[in-house]
C-alpha cells in the first residue's frame, strides 16, 4: 500500500450526523469541478438506506425555510425522487400555536404574517440524512467517505390522530408550555403526529412506564386543554393571613389582572378575522403509532467554535433545548456560514483554514447562537415560573404578543431562521 499523501483533503468533516452530512454535501457542491476534496470521517457506520415505513420515523425535524434552502444548496432535491418522497412524507406547516398550561394566554404565528408560504417543514431525520448520503455524498467525486447525563429528558413517539381532525388544524405545529418544558405535537404526514415531550427525568420515567392507553390519556390530558384561567396573584393561604384591608387589596389586584389577562385573550379570539389569531384546538391522540423512546437534553455552548484549523459545527459547538426544533436549524446555520466562508476563500485565493476566516465563523455564529439559545432559554425560564404574579405577567405578555402584529412577525421570523 502506498503511504498516504500528506494533504489529501481540503476540508475534513468529523462526524456524520445530520449537520456533518449537510456540511460535507454543501462543500462537495462548492468544490464541484475542482480537484479539491472533502473527507467525511465517522467511526459509526454510514446511514442506513431510507426505507419508508407506513408510520413516520420517530426522529423528526422542524426545518426552517432558511435551513431548507441550505439543504437544497447542499443538493437535497426540493421534490426528492422516490424513495425520498419529500412532499408526501412531510408537512409544510403554515401556523404555530403556543399556549400556556396555567393561564388563558396563547400566541398563534401565521406564515402569511411574514409573507412566507410556511413557517417550516416537519420531516423525518432518516429521510434527510439518507437522501444527503445516497444522492449527494455517494455520487460526488469531491467527497471521500471515511467510515468506520441529563438536565432534563425528552420523550419522543408517534401518534395517530382521528381522521376527522379538521384540515385547518393539520398545518399547525402545536406547543403547550409546561414549567418543566414544552410538549410539542408536530404534523408529519397523514394522520401521524410526532410527539416531543420535554420534561423532568422523573416524569419521563412515569410516562414511559404507563401502558399505551394510559399514556394516550396522559398525553391528551396534557395537550388538549385550551388556555386556562391564571392562578391568584397572591396564593390564598398567604392572602388569608394578611390583615383585612391588605387582603382586600391583594384580592382586588389579582382579580383585576386576571380580568385583563382573560380579556386580552378574548379580544384575540374575537378578532375580525377569526382564522388569523384565534385559538385552535389541538388534535386528540387516537392511537400510539410508535414506541416511546427518550433522550437526554443538554444545553451547552462551546466558548470558542474554532482552534487551529478546526471549526466546531452543529451539536459539537452548541446544543439547545428542543423548543421549536431549533437545534438542527442552528447546526444548518453553521453549515451555511462555514460553506460561505470556504466558497469566498476559494474564490479570492485565501487559505481555506486561515485563522482570519475561522475567527469570522466564530464571531458570526457565537453571536447568532447566543441570541437564539438565549431566547429559547429565556422562554423556557419564563414558562418555568409557577407562582401567581409571574404567571399573570407571562399571560399578559403572551396575549399582547399575539395581538401586536409587528412583535409577533418578528418572533415568527426568528423561528423561521430569517
Amino acid at each position: 500500500m502506498p503511504p498516504p499523501a500528506p494533504f489529501t483533503h481540503s476540508v475534513l468533516v468529523v462526524g456524520s450526523g445530520t449537520v456533518g452530512l449537510a456540511l460535507a454535501a454543501r462543500l462537495s457542491r462548492i468544490f464541484a469541478g475542482s480537484p479539491l476534496k472533502v473527507g467525511l470521517i465517522d467511526p459509526a457506520p454510514a446511514p442506513k438506506p431510507y426505507a419508508p415505513s407506513p408510520t413516520p420515523d420517530l426522529r423528526t425535524y422542524a426545518l426552517s425555510p432558511s435551513s431548507l434552502s441550505t439543504l437544497s444548496a447542499a443538493g437535497l432535491p426540493s421534490a426528492c425522487l422516490p424513495p425520498f418522497d419529500l412532499p408526501s412524507r412531510s408537512t409544510a406547516y403554515a401556523g404555530m400555536q403556543v399556549w400556556d398550561s396555567g393561564s388563558p394566554a396563547f400566541v398563534k404565528f401565521q406564515a402569511e404574517d411574514i409573507g412566507l408560504p410556511s413557517l417550516g417543514t416537519i420531516v423525518e431525520d432518516s429521510l434527510v440524512t439518507s437522501a444527503l448520503y445516497e444522492t449527494v455524498l455517494k455520487t460526488s467525486p469531491n467527497v471521500d467517505l471515511l467510515h468506520g447525563q441529563p438536565m432534563s429528558a425528552a420523550l419522543i413517539t408517534t401518534i395517530k390522530v382521528p381522521a376527522s381532525f379538521p384540515e385547518r388544524g393539520r398545518k399547525v405545529a402545536f406547543q403547550r408550555m409546561f414549567p418543566a418544558g414544552p410538549l410539542a405535537l408536530l404534523p408529519v404526514f397523514g394522520d401521524y403526529y410526532s410527539v416531543v415531550w420535554s420534561t423532568t427525568p422523573k416524569h419521563f420515567d412515569e410516562l414511559r412506564a404507563l401502558d399505551p392507553a394510559a399514556f394516550l390519556d396522559a398525553l391528551n390530558a396534557a395537550i388538549s386543554p385550551g388556555p386556562a384561567l391564571p392562578p391568584d396573584l397572591v396564593p390564598p393561604h398567604v392572602s388569608a393571613s394578611l390583615p383585612g384591608p391588605l387582603r382586600g387589596l391583594s384580592v382586588g389586584a389579582s382579580e383585576l389582572l386576571k380580568m385583563a389577562a382573560s380579556g386580552l385573550s378574548l379580544a384575540a379570539m374575537n378578532e375580525l378575522d377569526p382564522s388569523a389569531g384565534s385559538f385552535l384546538s389541538p388534535p386528540a391522540a387516537a392511537e400510539l403509532a410508535g414506541p416511546r423512546v427518550g433522550f437526554d437534553l443538554k444545553v451547552q455552548n462551546a466558548s470558542s467554535y474554532v482552534s487551529g484549523r478546526v471549526a466546531l459545527v452543529g451539536d459539537a459547538a452548541h446544543s439547545v433545548h428542543p423548543m421549536a426544533g431549533q437545534g438542527l436549524n442552528l447546526g444548518l446555520g453553521d453549515v451555511e456560514c462555514v460553506s460561505r466562508l470556504v466558497e469566498e476563500a476559494l474564490a479570492t485565493g485565501m487559505d481555506l483554514g486561515d485563522p482570519y476566516l475561522l475567527a469570522r465563523y466564530d464571531a458570526e455564529r457565537q453571536k447568532h447562537v447566543r441570541l437564539v439559545a438565549g431566547g429559547i432559554h429565556a422562554l423556557h425560564g419564563a414558562f418555568g415560573v409557577e407562582a401567581g404574579a409571574g404567571v399573570l405577567f407571562r399571560s399578559l405578555g403572551m396575549s399582547a404578543v399575539n395581538l401586536v402584529g409587528p412583535v409577533k412577525r418578528r418572533i415568527a421570523r426568528v423561528a423561521a431562521g430569517l
Binding site: 470558542s304 485565501m350 482570519y356
Partner: protein, 327 residues
C-alpha cells in the same frame, strides 16, 4: 530559497537617487515576522482581512477585461491582452509579507509567471519561508519557484517587450513612497506594463474621518491592529491625486478602468465593535451602491465622476488602470 534575481547587475544607485524612503524600508523589515496570524486569537492584520475584497475586485476587473475565464482557479488561465500576445506575467510591487502573492498562487497562477519586488531584504526571506511552508512555491523546482527581486523598482531590469507584465499590483504601497518621489517611482513601474495590461492600485484616502481617525488614530492607537507609525497621514492620496499621478505619467496612455471603495462590512460602528471588543477585525466589502463608492471608467469625464464619487471620502480604495493598446 526562491530564485534570486535580487542583486541589480548595474551598480546600485545612491540612496538619495532612489524612490525609496530608508525609514519606510526599515519600518517594514522590522515587521517581517508578524505578517500572518498563527491562530484565530492572534492579533488581526487588516491586510489579510482586506485580501478577499481586493481579490474580488482584481478578478472582476480581469474577467471584464477578458484576461481570465470564470470558474475555479481563474489565474491558471491568465492570458496576455489579445493585442500584445506573449506569456502572461504578474508583478507585485512592494509585496510585503506576500498576502497578494499567496492569493494569486492559490487562485492558480503558475509560480514561474509571478514576480515580486520588495525593497526590504528581511521580508524577502520570511516570504520565501512562508510560501514554502504553505506548499505554494518550491525554490528547488524551477517549475514551482517565483522570482523575488530585492531592491527599489527602478533597479528591476526592463524585460524585452514580449515579456512585459500583463498585470501589475501596487497594493497598500503608494502611501509609503515619499510624495516628492512618486512621479519617479511610477514611471519605471509603468514601463514594465504591457500594452493592454492592467495596473491595480489600492491605498488610503486622505480624509479626516476615514483616513486620519480610522486608518491612523483608530488602527494604530485604539485598535492597535497596525503598529504605531505605520502610516503618515500627509502621505495618503486622494483618489483624484492617484488619477493624476497614473494617468499623468506621460507616454504610457494609462486610463482608469474602475475605482471602488473598500469598506468594513458593518460600517464604522461594526468595525469599532469587532476591533474594540475582540481585538480582531471584521469582514471588508467592496462599496458599490448607487455609484457613490464606485466609479466606472470608459473615456472622458472620469475626473469629475471620481470627484463626485469620493467627495465624502473613500477610506480604503482600489483602482484599476489599463495601459493603452498601442505602445
Amino acid at each position: 530559497m526562491l530564485r534570486p534575481l535580487s542583486t541589480p547587475s548595474s551598480p546600485p544607485r545612491t540612496p538619495s537617487a532612489s524612490t525609496l524612503s530608508a525609514t519606510e524600508v526599515s519600518k517594514f523589515s522590522a515587521l517581517s515576522t508578524q505578517w500572518f496570524a498563527d491562530s484565530a486569537s492572534s492579533p488581526s492584520n487588516p491586510l489579510v482581512e482586506m485580501s478577499p475584497c481586493r481579490m474580488q475586485f482584481v478578478l472582476n476587473t480581469l474577467r471584464s477585461e477578458e484576461l481570465v475565464p470564470p470558474g475555479h482557479f481563474p489565474l491558471a488561465s491568465l492570458t496576455a491582452p489579445r493585442s500584445s500576445p506573449g506569456p502572461a506575467r504578474v508583478l507585485d510591487v512592494g509585496c510585503g509579507g506576500g498576502v497578494f502573492l499567496e492569493a494569486a498562487l492559490r487562485l492558480g497562477l503558475p509560480p514561474p509567471s509571478l514576480t515580486a519586488i520588495e525593497p526590504a531584504a528581511a521580508l524577502c526571506e520570511t516570504l520565501a519561508a512562508r510560501l514554502e511552508r504553505c506548499g505554494l512555491a518550491d525554490s528547488s523546482d524551477p517549475e514551482r519557484s517565483i522570482e523575488v527581486h530585492n531592491g527599489p523598482i527602478e533597479s528591476y531590469p526592463l524585460p524585452p517587450p514580449s515579456s512585459l507584465f500583463s498585470v501589475i499590483s501596487l497594493l497598500e504601497v503608494i502611501e509609503h513612497v515619499p510624495p516628492s518621489s512618486r512621479a519617479d517611482f511610477i514611471r519605471p513601474l509603468l514601463s514594465l506594463l504591457r500594452p493592454g495590461g492592467v495596473l491595480f492600485v489600492s491605498t488610503i484616502d486622505r480624509t479626516f474621518v476615514n483616513g486620519y481617525l480610522r486608518a491612523v488614530f483608530g488602527a494604530e492607537h485604539i485598535a492597535r491592529v497596525t503598529p504605531v507609525g505605520t502610516h503618515d497621514y500627509d502621505w495618503f492620496l486622494r483618489p483624484v491625486e492617484l488619477l493624476d499621478l497614473v494617468e499623468g505619467a506621460e507616454g504610457h496612455g494609462m486610463e482608469l478602468v474602475e475605482g471602488c471603495a473598500m469598506l468594513p462590512k458593518n460600517g464604522l460602528l461594526g468595525e469599532i465593535e469587532t476591533y474594540g471588543l475582540k481585538g480582531r477585525g471584521g469582514e471588508w466589502v467592496l462599496g458599490g451602491e448607487e455609484g457613490k463608492t464606485r466609479v466606472m471608467g470608459g473615456g472622458g469625464g472620469e475626473r469629475s465622476k471620481l470627484e463626485d464619487a469620493t467627495r465624502g471620502g473613500w477610506g480604503n480604495y482600489i483602482c484599476a488602470f489599463r495601459k493603452s493598446q498601442v505602445s
